[in-house]
């Protein structure tokens, strides 16, 4: 603790958990990650990478659209966007000028599970970067003029989303799968909900969730442990711990079979098929992940890709996935094909789902899936920016600092029987939501 100045010690004590326990390391990746927990509850994951003179920060706040007030979807997103649109001492224009002048970037946004703020700044400007980062996280002004401006931007985006068949399909699919669960609404809200959101809603949401103990921050780059501790103390030291109460979330509803066509004058039918899936914390996660990789998850060798694209030439892209979050996100299949072949594509998707639920995958298929998932793991961490994103996610979802070591083991331990079990447990070829945007031949749909 001696590295802390006495003045700062009054506010915070740095508990370097790593001091007692050897740092978690990913051998192949050689990631010497340090986890620093400050007395105000702020968690910082640090990875020193001095080879290039810059620092990236990725902060995740437990305050995504999952926690939107029920009658005001879009609150989390608007709150996050407005962080960088002015603080008590800096206008939106001042912020933009200051950051652009040193070529730094600062972005804030929300997703289903979390809000995030990311900073990229040259080493020489790291003090300035953290000063602004702390300012936007602690003192956003939510000025009326900025709120109106941001709302108009979001409304324009919502409108232009109607020209994007993928977005139309995603939104309708989520609303049908999740019904009254908060994953049902778009992160950015709706035209109706945005009208209801006022400054007081944003201020209240901010006050409730933007707390040091509700944030995980990954810091990667040309910065030492001493520097990081000092800078976090100096910038976030006065940010007080306060208990954060998270709202109760309804269970995800059961899915009854439903099919909807959004008729639009398009060349292709954009298809989504699926149902509720699993949480990120589910013990089934890794086995389900491997199963999905074989089915339609990854690369050019999945069963769905082979069947629909390579053997039939029906689509440019087809993929399936589990959107595993704090809550059980959807399992979904996405594919686009010309209108005439939409029923064929849907049929093939269902056949592949049935097949993987019926028979065990071959030894070779499983071995290939594992060697890809394990071998390509480091590729997901080949830039400081990517590492920062993964580190903050690992901490946010509580995957543990041994994640980088345990991931290969977990993937490797999945058996053929487990794959079958996962397919039977987590895929449902009877009760699913089917959404098609385009002009498909509806009479031929299942």
């Amino acid at each position: 603790m001696s590295r802390l100045g006495p003045r700062l010690l009054r506010f915070l004590v740095v508990l370097i958990l790593i001091g007692a326990v050897p740092p978690a390391r990913a051998e192949a990746l050689d990631l010497a990650i340090k986890k620093l927990v400050f007395e105000n509850g702020m968690t910082v994951l640090l990875l020193e990478r001095p080879s290039l003179p810059f620092v990236v920060v990725d902060a995740k706040i437990l305050g995504g659209s999952l926690y939107d007030p029920e009658d005001r979807p879009g609150t989390a997103s608007l709150t996050a966007s407005l962080l960088t649109q002015g603080t008590a001492s800096r206008s939106a224009i001042d912020l933009a000028e200051t950051l652009d002048s040193v070529g730094a970037s600062l972005r804030s946004s929300a997703s289903d599970d979390f809000a995030s703020v990311s900073l990229t700044v040259l080493k020489k400007d790291v003090q300035l970067g953290f000063e602004i980062l702390a300012d936007v996280l602690m003192n956003p002004s939510f000025a009326e003029g900025e709120i109106a401006r941001e709302k108009a931007q979001v409304l324009a985006q919502i409108k232009s989303d109607l020209d994007d068949p993928g977005r139309i399909a995603d939104k309708l699919f989520a609303s049908l799968v999740f019904k009254n669960h908060p994953y049902a609404h778009p992160v950015e809200g709706t035209e109706e909900s945005l009208q209801k959101i006022g400054r007081e809603d944003l201020a209240a949401f901010f006050k409730r969730y933007y707390r040091p103990n509700n944030i995980v921050m990954a810091v990667v780059g040309d910065i030492t442990e001493e520097e990081a501790i000092e800078i976090v103390n100096a910038r976030f030291g006065r940010w007080a711990f306060r208990n954060v109460e998270t709202p109760a979330i309804r269970p995800v509803p059961k899915t009854a079979r439903v099919a909807k066509v959004v008729s639009k004058d398009l060349k292709q039918a954009t298809i989504r098929l699926g149902h509720p899936g699993i949480r990120r914390s589910s013990p089934d996660y890794y086995a389900a992940y491997v199963m999905n990789h074989i089915l339609g998850g990854g690369g050019f060798s999945s069963r769905m890709m082979t069947r629909v694209r390579d053997e039939k030439g029906l689509a440019y892209d087809i993929r399936s996935g589990f959107d595993a979050g704090l809550e059980p996100g959807a399992f979904s299949v996405s594919v686009q094909t010309k209108n005439e072949t939409a029923p064929d594509a849907v049929e093939m998707v269902l056949e592949e789902i049935n097949r993987i639920r019926k028979t065990v995958v071959s030894e070779a298929e499983l071995a290939d899936a594992k060697s890809y998932l394990i071998g390509s793991f480091p590729l997901r961490l080949d830039t400081n920016r990517k590492i920062a994103g993964v580190l903050s996610s690992v901490e946010f979802y509580g995957l543990g600092l041994d994640y980088f070591e345990s991931y290969p083991r977990r993937i490797d331990s999945v058996s053929r029987e487990e794959v079958l079990k996962m397919a039977r447990k987590h895929l449902n070829p009877k009760n699913y939501v089917l959404v098609i945007v385009g002009k498909p031949d509806a009479g031929r749909l299942p």
Binding site: L172, S263, K267, Q268, G299, F300, Y316, D317, L379, D382
Partner: protein
């Protein structure tokens, strides 16, 4: 691109996939770069960078849609797809399966000037990666049945990327109008009518002509020692014979005689304006001033277009400018574009875009603003080194257009030399009304009746 990246919901981003936008990034203090030219004409660049245990291999063929003739557009891109469909040694789908089995990822992209294949893998798999690339440089099967299937896949790709995306159509139409003669007018993915009639023989001819070592650049980047990397490239590619390359003919694009306008009438929610001006490519003394012009107009939220159109006037959902000088031939295009906000007149947004250029022609950029733009470029240059893949790509691009690694090394110094007067002169010289081509998306009402888009979005 053989497979799409994750869709982005950001409006206006879609067209970026058409034009390969590149900010040159110097190697500077970064990685060690060693080059070699093999006897068969293959250019090799080895980049040593041991920041992460990942290697990148890129094979650049100097052939793209500019090498295609009217009626046969889309040939280079369709051939790119066929490169994954098997050789005499490596069967259909085996290429991808092999790379994946070794923990690697792979893909490819085609643009107007080049067709590029890439892999990322663990450094100890370099030989395997090289052997797969060397194999398909000469042994491609181009199986007739596979060709017919892949033609369908590319048609689906075109439907998805272009035909069902109104802003992408505008970009395609604007390019076709901005270039009257030069083959840069061709869409890389090809016109649908051409895709329908391309034959296997067209592909065979294209492959034999252009897929030769003296028309390729191999880039290996990662922790491997450059001498070792070059030796391995030599071992894999050295025996492939040199090909007979047709001599390069530069097509001269005649100067524009007045503004050209293209309207696209499609079912859409919001209009879109996309204006392009012919400007010099890399190597011209004005390129750095044009870079700074684009920077002042469009980099960051303090940039002129964002500040004026999006923030202050609130007439555009987004507004930007872009200059990509890294083309093989002249002219390059400098473009301005904006998404019109609901309830705003398209012509007001268009005028506001031009007004920002006119201001830059009328008055020099204040020193502080110019310094900011230079700082942004320099920071982007350092930050760009975060990705070894990105660096390899920039080196490949510099080699492709003939300026080489040296260009990248000197880039920042050249940017630093630009004076406000240079930027003002560039704004005056290249951006007159008579030189521009404008593409406008004119939304029309839906043709079909039925469920409203977005039906059932909430509360069901």
């Amino acid at each position: 691109m053989r497979r799409r990246a994750r869709r982005t919901s950001r409006a206006g981003a879609a067209w970026l996939s058409l034009a390969l936008v590149l900010t040159p990034v110097p190697a500077g203090a970064g990685p060690k770069v060693v080059q070699d030219l093999l006897d068969n004409g293959l250019k090799v660049v080895a980049v040593q960078d041991d920041k992460s245990p990942v290697s990148t291999l890129q094979v650049w063929y100097k052939v793209g849609s500019r090498h295609e003739t009217p009626g046969k557009t889309g040939l280079s891109h369709l051939l790119e797809h066929m490169m994954f469909k098997g050789t005499a040694k490596v069967g259909k789908g085996e290429y991808s399966r092999t790379v994946a089995r070794h923990g690697g990822t792979e893909n490819a992209f085609t643009n107007r000037d080049a067709t590029v294949y890439f892999q990322k893998f663990a450094p100890d798999r370099l030989e395997l990666a090289l052997s797969l690339e060397a194999d398909r440089m000469t042994n491609l099967l181009l199986d007739p049945a596979e060709f017919e299937l892949e033609r369908k896949v590319v048609m689906e790709e075109r439907r998805m990327r272009i035909e069902d995306d109104p802003t992408s159509i505008v970009v395609e139409e604007m390019f076709a109008a901005a270039y009257k003669v030069h083959p840069y007018r061709h869409p890389t993915i090809g016109w649908m009518e051409d895709l329908a009639v391309l034959s296997r023989e067209d592909l065979v001819r294209h492959y034999k002509r252009w897929y030769v070592p003296n028309n390729a650049i191999v880039i290996v980047a990662g922790p491997t020692d450059p001498a070792e990397a070059i030796a391995k490239v030599k071992a894999a590619f050295g025996k492939i014979p040199k090909g007979d390359l047709p001599s390069e003919t530069a097509v001269q694009e005649p100067p524009p005689l007045g503004e050209r306008r293209v309207k696209v009438k499609k079912e859409a929610q919001l209009p879109f304006v996309f204006a392009g001006y012919p400007v010099p490519r890399v190597g011209h003394p004005d390129e750095y001033a044009l870079d700074l012009l684009a920077q002042v107009l469009a980099a960051g939220k303090s940039s002129r277009l964002y500040r004026s159109l999006v923030y202050e006037k609130q007439i555009a959902a987004y507004a930007a400018a872009s200059y990509d000088q890294m083309t093989s031939q002249d002219p390059a295009l400098f473009y301005l574009y904006a998404g019109v906000k609901p309830g705003v007149r398209t012509e007001d947004v268009e005028k506001a875009l031009y007004r920002e250029i006119e201001l830059l022609a009328a008055q020099p950029v204040p020193e502080k603003e110019l310094e900011k733009a230079k700082n942004q470029i320099e920071a982007a240059f350092i930050l760009g080194q975060d990705s070894i893949f990105n660096q390899a790509r920039q080196i490949g691009q510099a080699e492709l257009v003939g300026v080489g690694v040296r260009y990248i090394e000197n880039y920042i110094a050249n940017i630093r030399k630009v004076a406000a007067a240079d930027v003002q002169r560039a704004a005056k010289d290249y951006f007159s009304e008579d030189r521009r081509t404008v593409g406008i998306l004119v939304p029309v009402s839906p043709k079909t009746q039925g469920a409203e888009p977005g039906e059932g979005r909430s509360g069901e």
